[in-house]
Amino acid sequence: MAPVAPRSGDAIFASVERVNAELFTLTYGAIVRQLLTDLEEVEEVNKQLDQMGYNIGIRLIDEFLAKSNVSRCVDFKETAEVIAKVGFKMFLGVTASVTNWDADGMSCSLILEDNPLVDFVELPDTCQGLYYCNILSGVIRGALEMVSMKTEVTWVRDMLRGDDAFELQVKLLKQVSEEYPYKDDEYSEV
């Protein structure tokens, strides 16, 4: 059977069901507000957002792989390109660009010009340490972990803090080999 060609981000986005980005933006804002009220500490909120993103990421990767038909990525460079061009487009309707590769190709930056999460948002003085879009870093981390890549995702630039774009640094820590989840001796012949 001939392998199915991978679909472009635009094609997939056009074919999935879509909702108004403002509903998405306002719902995310409600989540962040709830977290700030409950947890009060900005660092705690950052961690919780990352955790929520992680939970989303581990499930999102299945949908991503199912809809996009990408084959196994040859190296981390390709992974980053696929996330930026196909992944972001498919779910958020925006594309990111990949830059700032380091010498051994283990770390890069994803730059988002347009971010539907932050429409209408302004950070007050009391929340200056908040990474408002931290859910995105959790999503990427969770998704990549499910395809055997342990990564560290951090924010380099944040428009809500006065920078000119959103920049995420994705660093590949290690490739985990796929493990058979069951130990051999758990099975026994009946």
Partner: protein
Amino acid sequence: MIGVGKIKQNTNVLDKPLSRGKQEVSLSAFAFLFSELVQYNQTQVDNIAELERRLEDAGYAVGARVLELLCHRDKGNRRETRLLGILSFVHSTVWKVLFGKVADSLEKGTEHEDEYMISEKELLVNRFISIPKDMGTFNCGAFVAGIVRGVLDGAGFPAVVTAHFVPVEGQQRPRTTILIKFAEEVLEREARLS
């Protein structure tokens, strides 16, 4: 020199132009986000009533902002003063913007003067949610009920809004009804204006 550092441009969010409202994200992105909202709230409460209240509060904040946004952008800063006006605003404009279609139906309650119902065959937020039996009558539509309450409250029509499942024959999934019960003062004012 003291105070010289990287100059950050802190553009005021109010100076940026308002978007036209046509941007979209995928349904699954919203569904994932909503599921995380519900899951997070489940860890924070002990019972169903609390969970519904928290979802409603989250929706209230969304509703208040949606009202401001739509009044400014789509209605040219005119506000509704009549009951039917605000109800049809919620049923058509708000629903169209948030969920991509007008609500299935808007009905007046037969038993009580102050009750109105907006029904939807399948609420967008409930698309990928199934309620386990032990949670009884819990409905994640409480989030949408909160949005409606936020819109009504912001427009000056205080009300109690709840979401209910109504089983329909011939349909496997029950349809959802948002029940709006207006406060006394709204009806009195409406009577004066008529």
